[in-house]
């Protein structure tokens, strides 16, 4: 075949020249991840440290862009049979990964097949419940898990005369008014708005976000977040934009500088911003539990997890999976987890790592750093607060983002925005249900 001579031979030659096809005795384990910046360095360190502990396997971490890009790259690679062994997928991709039964090697089963000791009870229930099947099988290995918390600028609150960090939304409003009156540009802001203000908000108030136990029971789920409680909350937020009690600062973590610059006194987003707060905030800051509405619930339920897990993809040799299993064990070890947790602000995934951090005195010297873990394990999770599982959720979150933005910029009434978001989201849920009928 002339084509192949023309194209493949040079390609092979190029590969050879760049040194990729040089055979080696160590088995390489490809790990695609989405951790840029400082966290990327930590990922590299974990892999290097693991590689140094043994000589049979070599974990090769590769940064593949943001979460979406990483997931799509892995899927595209799988379709072309070039998939990595391990891919880091954010929590909203869970349903998509779960549905791909032929592509995903459930972690629990992989550990068993590889003969690697694995005890699920070592892991924090609030962390792993999000990633289990309805039968309780653990599908993916939690890696970087976080939950939204309330970050506050202690100096600003003091200056504004707020003596107590707000615990409820009415107190949030009051504190924000005082902040603005004290000359701050805004009271509070938040990032990852769908996750923080709808998904976690619903769990925190123990109200369902969708039918079928938030999608855990089946793909027949339909959205219910367009309920009165959420709508009222959206209405409040919209109102609070007047007078800058709340200022919207963009999707994801785009609003972080507003907090670290001292413009906004409070900020709601992932506990995993701890690392950047430490390096960028030039004031005393702290984290506290998210506010709630006392007229909706007496005491908050529990918050849900965010972040990402490591999924193992099928189609590699059995021996490779032995290495993957060893790496998973290493990753879950108390030392690695405690280090990761203390450096990044992600929650530790095992009880042992949590205990170790306690013993090391981390929470005493850094008050508030256990907020996330306390929030997650505040109460035994209910079907409303265990987590969410929706197909096409990456796209649905974008829809929710869009509709929320429409509310913030005043082009839609909160009721309208939430109804539209639920309606548009349902269409994608149905599409997913249909594409994954077995």
């Amino acid at each position: 075949m002339a084509i192949f001579k023309k194209l493949v031979l040079p390609a092979a030659l190029a590969a050879f020249m760049s040194g990729t096809s040089v055979a080696s005795a160590v088995t390489e384990i490809q790990w695609w991840h989405a951790m840029g910046g400082t966290n990327g360095e930590r990922v590299n360190k974990i892999a290097e440290d693991f590689n140094a502990t043994q000589s049979d396997f070599k974990v090769v971490p590769t940064f593949k862009g943001n979460y979406t890009e990483t997931m799509t790259a892995a899927i595209a690679a799988f379709r072309a049979k070039k998939q990595p062994h391990i891919v880091q997928v954010f929590e909203v991709g869970t349903a998509t990964m779960m549905a791909a039964k032929g592509a995903v090697y459930p972690v629990e089963q992989m550990m068993k097949d590889a003969g690697e000791p694995f005890d699920k009870s070592d892991y924090l229930p609030a962390v792993i419940s999000y990633y289990q099947t309805s039968d309780g099988e653990l599908l993916s290995m939690p890696f970087n898990s976080s939950t939204p918390v309330l970050w506050y600028n202690k100096d600003a609150l003091d200056k504004a005369g707020v003596s107590k960090v707000p615990e409820t939304w009415p107190e949030m409003k009051e504190a924000s008014e005082k902040l603005v009156a004290a000359g701050y540009k805004c009271g509070f802001s938040f990032g990852w708005q769908s996750w923080v203000m709808i998904e976690t908000f619903s769990a925190w108030h123990n109200i369902p976000m969708a039918t079928e136990e938030n999608g855990f029971k089946s793909t027949k789920t339909t959205f219910e977040f367009n309920n009165d409680i959420v709508k009222t909350h959206m209405k409040n937020l919209q109102d609070w934009q007047k007078g800058n009690l709340f200022v919207y600062g963009g999707r994801r973590g785009d609003s972080l500088p507003m907090f670290t610059n001292g413009e906004c006194g409070m900020w709601m987003n992932s506990s995993a911003y701890y690392g950047s707060m430490k390096s960028q905030a030039k004031f005393n800051f702290g984290q506290a539990m998210l506010p709630y509405y006392p007229n909706v619930i007496d005491k908050p339920q529990n918050s849900i997890i965010g972040g990402a897990t490591l999924w193992v993809l099928r189609g590699k040799q059995d021996n490779d999976y032995k290495g993957v299993a060893k790496f998973m064990t290493y990753l879950s070890s108390p030392e690695v987890q405690a280090w990761w947790h203390q450096e990044t602000g992600y929650v530790p995934i095992t009880t042992a790592a949590y205990e170790l951090s306690k013993k090391q005195g981390f929470y005493e010297s850094n008050p508030g750093t256990d907020t996330a873990i306390k929030q997650l394990s505040l109460n035994t999770p209910t079907p409303n607060s265990r987590g969410i599982r929706f197909g096409n959720f990456v796209q649905i979150r974008d829809i929710i983002n869009e509709e929320m933005e429409a509310i913030w910029n005043g082009s839609k009434a909160p009721e309208q925005g939430m109804d539209d978001a639920a309606k548009r989201g349902d269409v994608l849920l149905r599409k997913f249900e249909e594409a994954n009928e077995s």
């Binding site: 084509i3 023309k6 194209l7 979406t68 799509t72 899927i75 799988f78 379709r79 998509t96 549905a99 791909a100 039964k101 032929g102 592509a103 919207y248 600062g249 963009g250 999707r251 785009d254 609003s255 500088p257 507003m258 610059n261 413009e263 096409n392 990456v394 796209q395 974008d398 983002n401 869009e402 509709e403 933005e405 429409a406 913030w408 910029n409 082009s411 994608l428 599409k431 249909e434 594409a435 994954n436 077995s438």
Partner: protein, 293 residues
């Protein structure tokens, strides 16, 4: 189409077109036909299960108001980019044509943005207009205007238009200047003798004579805005806020690549391909001489 004088039949022409045909077949026709086939499927992301659904993906698109919204946005966006970059370039070219010394130096200084990658251009403009950090939004805020393109769809559109137009000014400038310099000086001189001033001459003589160049640039700019601004949009707004900058090319990408709705995305690319091929054929049939990029 073909030279009146040409070489006789032999195997040579086949060998000559072979490389391009092979590349086109393998990397264009084949993937495109895959997209065509995919547009008729309902498929899960990993390609493990698929169902043939005929034209349902297309029906869904046609009945989706957001798709039409995206069409509308694309037209507005392309028009604004073309208008802004062309009028700015024309203005500069008119002045550059007047100065005897230094037009080369100006050209060198103006050409820079052309070399900047769309992704980089996007990053740069986002950096300048970042609502909290950006230097321009800081200045605007000092003037009493709170810029927030992450919230305000019109500002977002404005920002992607500015970033895209900025990149294209240089190209337009080069063509306008060359066009101006090729206008016979005798015409201008004759008008000057009749007493027409520079402004009058510009409107009565120069601009009409420049219209072929203008038309050609219009086509190029619209094509640029349709397809090559992907990187700018990707970095600046990701199609947001609330879909305000979700132009067609970006929607194909975000529905397929981000949303993993492969069938729907493939259907969109098929529609785009048909549009492009249609446009190309029209352009080829009617304005053949003008295409050159």
């Amino acid at each position: 189409m073909l030279k009146n004088v040409h070489f006789g039949p032999s195997v040579l022409p086949f060998l000559l077109v072979l490389p391009q045909i092979v590349v086109t077949l393998v990397f264009f026709i084949w993937p495109a036909s895959q997209a065509l086939y995919q547009s008729l499927l309902l498929e899960d992301a990993f390609g493990l299960k698929s169902e043939f659904v005929w034209f349902r993906n297309f029906e869904a698109l046609v009945s989706d108001p957001l798709y039409w919204h995206s069409f509308k946005i694309t037209i507005v966006f392309s028009f604004l980019v073309a208008f802004l970059s062309m009028s700015f370039a024309l203005l500069l070219a008119l002045f550059a044509d007047r100065v005897i010394k230094g037009s080369g130096a100006y050209r060198t200084l103006l050409i820079w943005p052309y070399a900047v990658a769309p992704v980089t251009a996007g990053a740069l403009w986002v950096f300048m207009f970042n609502p909290t950090l950006g230097i321009v939004s800081y200045a605007l805020s000092a003037l009493g205007y709170e810029w927030n393109h992450q919230l305000n769809g019109e500002e977002a559109m404005g920002l992607v238009v500015m970033a895209s137009a900025w990149k294209q000014v240089a190209y337009n400038f080069l063509f306008f200047l060359a066009g101006l310099q090729s206008i016979p000086k005798s015409l201008i001189e004759a008008a000057a003798i009749d007493g027409a001033g520079p402004i009058r001459r510009t409107f009565d003589i120069v601009l009409p004579l420049l219209s072929p160049t203008t038309f050609f640039l219009l086509v190029v700019n619209i094509v640029y805005a349709f397809f090559e601004t992907f990187g700018v949009i990707h970095v600046v707004t990701s199609g947001g806020p609330a879909g305000a900058t979700n132009i067609l090319v970006y929607k194909v990408f975000s529905d397929g690549f981000v949303g993993l709705d492969l069938g729907g995305s493939a259907a969109q690319s098929v529609i785009l391909m048909i549009m492009v091929i249609g446009l190309t054929v029209i352009q080829f049939k009617y304005v053949e001489k003008r295409v050159a990029y």
